[in-house]
Amino acid sequence: MRATAALILIGALGLGVPAAAHHTFIAQYDPNRPVVMTGTVTRVEWTNPHARFYIDVADDNGDVTNWNLELASPNVLRRYGWTGRSLQPGDRVTVDGTLARDGSNMANALSITLPDGRKIFARESAPVLE
């Protein structure tokens, strides 16, 4: 993975990980590799089993990488109050997430911060199923 100016790897543990998924979260994402990245939304997929959105992230040289970011499922997000239009192409966002283990440009998004400071899809207090 190429380092980018807007991509900061945080070496510390401690970010919460969602438990409510249809697959083993830790087998796909590495809780030891939390990430913060800023970019512009290019596409939103309000689909199952996970809603997804894609952002363009530019590095110091202006080279742009498109990232695939996973959210919870639309039914879970809707129950938290979000809609399929909460995030829209063109939005400038900062994403707190967890990187995929396989080195692809994929991460799980734990929360998204809009330029005005609003956090959307934040799931830190998501219910944990036994």
Binding site: A19, T47, N48, P49, S73, R85, S86, K119, L129, E130
Partner: protein, 279 residues
């Protein structure tokens, strides 16, 4: 334009004004009325509190299990629900099968059904038919892991002599006091009991005992009987909680399932059963 048209036009104009106003308001965490939505879990509209009330009963006195429930079965590791004194003793072949299972092979990750007694992290609803009086059928309607249902025959029939193996098997139910007892056979061997990959064979028989202990609580005590995979039966207990004000929602799992090819790491079983690092 007649008077009705004038009124409608004025109402429409007011509606547009109100809609536009909601967008021009200062942004907050929860923008009620905006198509962007918003909210958090402290919002009682999202997770309503369940009143402290006794379990309801139908007019004829039959316990009423209806409602939208979350949980009530294993998800991560079925051994988490073992009752005191119970243990899981895998036969060697089943132990080898479990050890060979990788997270990317979990049928649930492939948008296949959970089987029994596993639950998905999504709500499910109990519906009886007919709605009042003695039920002939109970239906468990699942939002996920796939949109599906279980059908429990309450009309006194037994199991057929032969049942083609299926994901949910053949279920017959009866009441023992306030407890619904569901006896199921005829399972296929394809689903896993949990993320850990606890296996079973087509010899599996499950006895589920559902008791609604109060308005918001549904206990499920499950005995797993499978002489093809386990040296002896074992019993686990899980508890479902009522979600008032929620409805089932659409969940079409396999419309955009990109996960499987990216599930490359160790699963919960590898991590939770790994030896601690030496000092």
């Amino acid at each position: 334009m007649n008077i009705h048209q004038t009124v409608y036009t004025l109402l429409a104009a007011l509606a547009v004004l109100a809609y536009g106003t909601s967008f021009s308001q200062p942004t907050g965490v929860a923008e009620a009325g905006s198509d962007r939505g918003g909210g958090n879990l402290s919002d009682p509209l999202i997770v309503p509190e369940v009143p402290d009330a006794p379990a309801p009963r139908l007019p004829d006195g039959t316990p009423d299990l209806s409602g939208l429930w979350l949980g009530g079965g294993p998800n991560r590791d079925i051994s988490q629900g073992l009752l005191p004194g119970e243990e899981i003793e895998l036969l060697p072949e089943a132990a080898a099968l479990m050890a060979s299972r990788r997270p990317q092979d979990d049928p649930e990750a492939h948008c296949l059904p959970t089987g029994v007694p596993r639950v998905a992290p999504y709500p499910w609803r109990i519906v009886q038919d007919p709605p009042y009086g003695k039920a002939t059928h109970l239906f468990f309607l699942f939002e996920g892991n796939i949109h599906s249902y279980r059908q429990i025959f309450m009309d006194g029939r037994g199991h057929p002599e032969y049942v083609d193996p299926t994901w949910y098997g053949h279920s017959i139910g009866h009441w023992e006091g306030a407890t619904l007892v569901v006896d199921t056979v005829g399972f296929n061997d394809r689903f896993w009991f949990d993320f850990h990959g606890h296996p079973h064979t087509e010899q599996l028989r499950t006895i589920e005992r559902y008791t609604r202990t109060n308005l918001g609580t549904l206990e499920n005590v499950i005995t797993i009987i499978d002489p093809g995979a386990y040296a002896k039966p074992f019993t686990v207990k899980y508890t479902a909680t009522l979600r008032l004000g929620w409805d089932l929602m659409e969940y079409i799992c396999n419309e955009n399932n990109q996960d499987v090819s990216h599930i490359v790491g160790p699963g919960y079983r590898d991590i939770e059963t790994a030896a601690p690092p030496s000092q």
